[in-house]
Amino acid sequence: MAVLTEEQSMLRDAAKAWVQEKAPVGALRKARDSGSLLGYAPEAFADMAAMGWAGVVIPETHGGSEFGYLSLGLVLEELGRTLAASPLAVSSMAAAYALVRAGTDAQKETWLSAIAAGEAVAALAVDEGPRHDPVRTALKAEAAAGGWRLSGAKAFVAEGMAATVYIVAARTAGSPGDEAGISLFLVPADAKGLTRSPRHLADSRDYAALTFDGVEVGADAVLGTAGEGYAPLERTLDVARIAVSAEMLGMASQAFDVTLDYLKTRVQFGQTIGSFQALQHRAAKMFSELELARSCVEAALAAIDQDADDLAQQAALAKAVAGDTLNLISREMVQMHGGIGMTDVHDAGLYLKRARAVETLFGSTAWHRDRWGRMQGY
């Protein structure tokens, strides 16, 4: 665990206590069984916002506490532990980052305090297929009277049904595969010509398919500079990747703790199965991987606070190492629990399903490994 300030320790402890009381794993199960499109009860997110969690990285002038990314990462890790669903990672961390960094005064005025208050949810509408690939953006934005007209589609937008506004990656020039010519737009969810429908994945969380049928927005909807959106988009996505990595770290830690507990209590052949060396060494391996993942995730969160030059490399490292770790532990969690781990009543399946969803979200482990290698010159 990183060396924390007293305030950070208090925030983490508060999150730990709240999650256990208000958002245990059962809350996700309940949301799933109720047919919720969000994966969480709206009161729970309102509760988080009331505690200030939605505004941790937002300036005080816009209703936030400007307490930093490592601080918000601590909350995300705790939420990950119980699979507590919320738009905090996407909206309150990544989208908020984009607005703070690139937004005009008017855009900040409109959106930041609403995000900090939990009244607005901003989602990142980037991918157009099942695999993350921002440079392949094809959704078209054409100049129209007084602004732009957007046509195309977006796929698997995380928190897309909860969103009240999207940061949309669109192509104003060039072709899919070109970095130049990508622009970012702020598009309200109720814009005319924009339709959305839910996509139900195994993790019971919120994903939306969006269709843009000549959606018209004003010139003031451009976030940053038209045609030069790729660099800020990648930077924003890196923040999203690190946010997700913090959630993954929490998930992996909890999945490991639960499994370790089972190794200590399940008795076969007259002794706890955790006394078998074949299982002990696999547990030691998981522990080692978790320690390495923690180092990478905490360093990446701190890198956002420091506005580090190598943020992209740190994000790729954190996402890939946390991804490998979570993949291993989620598989071992089911295997080591045996038959009970295959039942829906046990939590192992929920961790397994969410694990694969976050592993692919904002770039898979293999994708980030290759990306990291390219950045290092390999």
Binding site: M1, V3, A284, F287, L292, A293
Partner: protein, 399 residues
């Protein structure tokens, strides 16, 4: 005393700087002064530097002054290290006496033992070796059978030790012996003897790398005076284990091995030289490339974990859980790197001797082989996993 902490620190920095300026021979900038010199004793400037540091006690900066140490606080020792790094000065006092035996004797030795053995360690005069493993006692160290019989004023020691690092150059040995055969862990004692004692015979073992850093040590009717028993009779296991903790700490090194990964020639450059590049300038073999990347990421994660553990230790949270994984992860990263280098270089990476190979290529072959020891010595990778499972994770022994 610490009221004027920062002033004290600056005063000490000035003192250290002055002393180093006056005493460090500039011919030794960046030069390691070996404790064990295969070609003979150190001489010239190296000897001078060693003597000066030894006399000052700064080779063992935090050890008590009364036994020849520097008597510095940890903060002062850090400043001294910084000042030495600044001018490229290396600590000429090293070896097992410093890393393992000294700290253990300071904790468990009698006053007379400390007075006798610690000062020569501080001066770098006496080289120690470790009589632990035996042919039948490797990972199961407590199975050791070397017998020490009570002969009144001395013990008579008979048996065989193995993997005794540097025994052929060592002056003294700290040794685990069996003084009670009716019980296992509680029948072991910790004794010291002079390697020149009659009955001590050393034979170097040639390893797969061609080097002989380890020896077999045969002990035949070796007389060990009673005064050389450390701690109570049959109380040697506790002391022996404590020493192993010091060994592991030095092996996983708050810098040593990790620093090498960071500073070594990058595998990228090596691969582009020996394998070549594709039309986009990337390593031509995509499977090899992806495995190199995977390895480099693990090395980076290991470095970040070393840094985190250091920050956490300084932050006062006590020793971090992360330290327990360092030996296994560090040794794996090192071995993976060597295996990748061999694969990248093809036949050129397997050069054994003679023409057709650069010195670097030949060294790489030997390092690849020599590095296989890192997951075996100091508690094998499997023993480390047992330790993590039992001590950190709280899993029970199999019944």
């Amino acid at each position: 005393m610490a009221d004027f902490g920062s002033t004290d620190a600056e005063a000490f920095r000035a003192e250290a700087r002055d002393w180093l300026a006056a005493n460090f021979p500039t011919s030794l900038v960046g030069v390691e002064v070996a404790m064990i010199n295969a070609t003979g004793p150190v001489e010239g400037d190296a000897l001078l530097w060693k003597q000066r540091v030894g006399e000052k006690g700064w080779g063992t900066p935090t050890w008590p002054k009364e036994y020849g140490g520097g008597g510095l606080t940890p903060a002062q020792a850090r400043i001294l290290q910084q000042e030495m790094n600044r001018i490229g000065a290396r600590n000429p006092i090293g070896g097992m006496g410093i890393m393992m035996f000294g700290p253990t004797l300071l904790e468990y030795g009698s006053e007379a033992q400390k007075q006798r053995h610690i000062p020569p360690i501080c001066r770098g005069e006496i080289r120690w070796c470790q009589g632990y493993s035996e042919p039948g006692a490797g990972s199961d160290l407590a199975a050791l059978q070397t017998r020490a019989e009570d002969m009144g004023d001395h013990f008579l020691v008979n048996g065989q030790k193995v993997w005794t690092s540097g025994a052929q150059y060592a002056d003294w040995c700290f040794c685990l012996v069996r003084t009670d055969f009716t019980t296992k862990h509680e029948g072991i004692s910790f004794v010291l003897f002079d390697m020149k004692t009659p009955g001590v015979e050393v034979r170097p073992i040639q390893l797969i790398s061609g080097n002989s850093p380890f020896c077999e040590t045969f002990l035949t009717d070796v007389k060990v005076p009673k005064e050389n028993l450390v701690g109570p009779l049959n109380g040697g296991w506790t002391i022996g284990k404590r020493l192993l903790q010091h060994e592991r700490n030095s092996l996983s090194g708050g810098g040593g091995s990790a620093g090498r990964f960071a500073s070594g020639t990058s595998l990228d450059k090596l691969a582009k030289t020996y394998v070549g590049v594709d039309e986009t300038g990337r390593i031509a073999d995509p499977d090899l490339r992806s495995r190199i990347i995977r390895h480099q990421m693990e090395a980076k994660a290991f470095m970040l974990t070393l840094m985190r553990a250091q920050a956490e230790a300084k932050g006062g949270g006590g020793p971090s859980n992360a330290t327990s994984i360092m030996k296994n992860v560090g040794s794996k990263v090192g071995q993976d790197r060597a295996e990748l280098a061999v694969e990248i270089m093809g036949a050129q990476g397997l050069g054994w001797e003679g023409e057709g190979f650069t010195d670097k290529e030949l060294e790489q072959t030997r390092n690849w082989l020599g590095g296989k020891a890192t997951t075996i010595y100091g508690g094998s990778a499997e023993i480390q996993n047992n330790i993590i499972a039992k001590r950190i994770l709280g899993l029970l022994d199999h019944q």
